[in-house]
């Protein structure tokens, strides 16, 4: 079995063809080969460029608002008994979710590449909203591809995108959700790659997009590592980092800096979207053992039928409603560094209710999946165990769904 090498970030531990073990690669049309290669060369150059790093850090600090806070959820801990429950409140970041990191970095890269246009996909609308914010800030024209079903259920984020001057391109094909938005965005890039930069909204897609996104969201664990040391004086003996997993950008970013700790000391728990309680459909390819397939340019575990057609997913959370998952997570599952499980729509909703009842925190439906797992396991654990949940999105965007489901 492959192992994680120390001293090198996991995003760089792929082979020359772009594979992490069996996952990843570049399954792309010939037309995109050159733009993808150019982007890879530019990114490798920029990440070594002190001026670029300074610029990125400057915007993360002054515009995104870094660091986001790390707090103990005292009331929830007391109510549940058992392990301590903490939260990394990434939803404090400008725009209300972790998607701002990737959007900022992509916009900066687009500027360096001399591109005037930027396009991106979105499910929950956060990736789209953040890209529209960053595009506005850095003077780029922006188009966002979004499934019609998601446009309807995530209206607050759509309003924000429009306000920022971005054009929302509705996608009517297939299930009209994130998977179709990503396909349509890639098709648009095939036709416009000479003038336009593409931002893939998560740690998915051809190799370089997985890397750029993982590199950007790793800001979360960089901050957390410092915050934990400050809070506890050292890294506690038993930590559990719980994060929801859709494409996998927030969870990867939440875990990256802790990769080389033993899983006994720092356990990674990824929570996928299990879908409605009584439905066969889900968005949890890792939990339910989906087969490896190729989706959006990369080999990954993906929900599909025996013929290789991608299956429709179902989840209350638009941000997790994706049939595939990052090659990085497939790799982490295979080498058993991370453990993956799923929470149903109903479990996420009751977790949301419990968290908001006891704490001054408003996690969106995506991190509510992670809270569901925390709530499930905390009572069974000792009080020297530190559970940290990445509260990576704010529920403001979910107000319509929450009102409908919870009244």
């Amino acid at each position: 079995m492959k192992k994680i090498k120390r001293g090198i970030s996991l995003i760089d531990q792929h082979d020359k063809n772009g594979f992490w073990g069996k996952f990843g690669g570049n399954f792309i049309p010939e037309t995109l080969k050159k733009p993808v290669e150019d982007l890879a060369i530019l990114f490798e150059k920029l990440r070594k460029d002190k001026k670029f790093i300074y610029e990125k850090d400057y915007h993360f600090k002054n515009w995104v608002g870094s660091p986001t806070s790390f707090i103990k959820l005292e009331n929830l801990t007391n109510y549940l008994g058992g392990a301590q429950i903490w939260a990394k409140v990434v939803s404090e970041a400008n725009g209300g979710a972790h998607k701002i990191y990737n959007a900022t970095v992509h916009s900066l890269i687009a500027k360096k590449a001399g591109k005037k246009y930027i396009v991106g996909d979105t499910g929950a609308g956060y990736a789209g909203k953040m890209l529209s914010m960053a595009a506005k800030k850095f003077g780029l024209k922006c188009k966002i591809f979004m499934g019609v079903k998601d446009i309807k259920r995530q209206k607050p984020n759509c309003d924000a995108m429009k306000k920022n001057g971005a054009e929302i391109v509705p996608v009517y094909t297939g299930s009209q959700t994130l998977v179709d938005a990503v396909s349509e965005c890639m098709r648009y890039w095939v036709s416009n790659c000479d003038t336009t930069h593409m931002c893939v909204g998560s740690t998915v897609g051809p190799n370089i997009f997985v890397k750029i996104c993982g590199w950007s969201t790793s800001q979360i664990s960089k901050e957390l590592l410092i915050q934990i040391k400050k809070e506890f004086g050292k890294i506690p003996k038993k930590i559990k980092l719980i994060n929801c997993v859709g494409g996998g950008s927030s969870s990867f970013g939440f875990w990256n800096e802790f990769m080389h700790y033993s899983k006994k000391q720092v356990e990674f728990i990824g929570v996928e979207a299990g879908g409605p309680k009584n439905s066969k459909r889900h968005a949890a390819p890792l939990t339910y053992g989906s087969k490896i397939g190729i989706l959006h340019g990369a080999a990954q575990y993906v929900n599909q039928d025996t013929e290789g057609q991608i299956e429709e997913t179902e989840s209350i959370s638009a941000g997790l409603d994706y049939p595939g998952v990052s090659p990085l997570h497939c790799f982490l599952k295979d080498i058993k560094r991370a453990r993956y499980t799923a929470a149903t729509d109903e479990e996420a909703l009751s977790a949301y209710q419990l968290v908001t009842k006891y704490e001054n925190l408003n996690p969106s439906l995506e991190p509510s999946h992670a809270f569901a797992e925390a709530i499930k396991i905390a009572p069974k654990l000792s009080n020297d165990t530190v559970i940290i949940v990445n509260s990576c999105g704010d529920a403001q965007k979910d107000r319509d769904i929450l009102k409908e489901r919870l009244g």
């Binding site: 063809n17 690669g25 570049n26 399954f27 792309i28 049309p29 010939e30 037309t31 995109l32 080969k33 050159k34 733009p35 094909t173 297939g174 998977v179 179709d180 396909s183 890639m186 098709r187 095939v190 036709s191 416009n192 790659c193 000479d194 087969k291 490896i292 397939g293 190729i294 989706l295 959006h296 340019g297 080999a299 599909q304 025996t306 013929e307 290789g308 057609q309 991608i310």
Partner: protein, 267 residues
């Protein structure tokens, strides 16, 4: 070594002093039966028939082919049906070569060796895999060759000269040049003159292989491309099928007439 049916088709059209006409339709569009009838009617006028494997997350296809693919999938087309259509077609008219076109996940799930065996048995002459570019396709291309299936490499306006030379070197008897930055069926946004200029530059490197042009070619512009080895028309045909269904007309006759007209424009 025997000459492949694909090379033979090009040789024939070259002797007639015209480009080969290649058509593209989606297997199972709009039904299994109709799709075979359409293919039969096309093959009266086309030199090589490309058949698309319908896939539900096609990242390089435009609206017309997506619509055709969804229609076929909705009507329940399965992999075995696609091969059956080809087999039946080959039993009828074994002179026209068939090139199967699709996305790699279908082959990946089916198993590469099993897929190629099935290709051989059904009479598939060539394969185009849209999302398996060089050099990732080298192993698979070799397997194709072993099974006497021609693996068609693609070149695009973004392909660098160095890369182009390497791709050409590992290509078989046919190479596909993508006319412009576009998904299939996009409006021709570059003048035919410019496309041909790039085409002939490449042709200088691939003198002894067949280089076809595709993407954006329709009845309106096909006559500009007479100096090419071959022209591919796909989306226009798929869209003709869509229109025929919508207007309750027979797609078989309509498509047959369209391909006949395309052929005449190449003379």
């Amino acid at each position: 070594m025997t000459i492949s049916p694909i090379s033979l088709a090009f040789k024939k059209s070259r002797n007639e002093n015209r480009p080969a006409l290649l058509t593209y339709t989606v297997a199972g569009d709009n039904t299994k039966k109709k799709s075979l009838e359409i293919l039969n009617s096309i093959s009266n006028h086309a030199d090589i028939c490309e058949i698309g494997f319908p896939h539900n997350t096609p990242i390089a296809d435009g609206g017309q082919i997506q619509t055709a693919s969804y229609r076929a999938i909705k009507n329940g087309i399965k992999i075995k049906d696609v091969f059956q259509i080809i087999k039946k077609f080959k039993n009828n008219k074994n002179t026209k070569p068939i090139i199967l076109m699709g996305y790699f996940n279908i082959i990946y799930q089916y198993g590469q060796n099993r897929f190629l065996e099935k290709c051989k048995k059904s009479g598939v002459d060539g394969l185009i895999v849209v999302d398996l570019p060089w050099p990732d396709n080298m192993n698979f291309a070799k397997k194709c060759k072993k099974n006497s299936v021609s693996f068609v490499q693609l070149l695009s306006p973004t392909t660098s000269k160095l890369r182009m030379k390497k791709i050409i070197k590992s290509s078989h008897d046919m190479i596909y040049y993508i006319s412009m930055l576009s998904t299939t069926g996009g409006k021709l946004k570059v003048s035919p003159k410019k496309i041909l200029k790039s085409y002939h530059k490449i042709k200088k490197i691939v003198k002894n292989k067949n280089l076809v042009i595709g993407f954006g070619i329709t009845s309106k512009n096909i006559s500009f491309f007479k100096s090419a080895d071959g022209c591919v028309v796909g989306s226009e045909i798929c869209s003709k099928i869509s229109k025929s269904i919508k207007n309750k007309q027979n797609p078989v006759t309509n498509v047959g007439n369209m391909v006949k007209n395309l052929r005449e424009k190449l003379l």
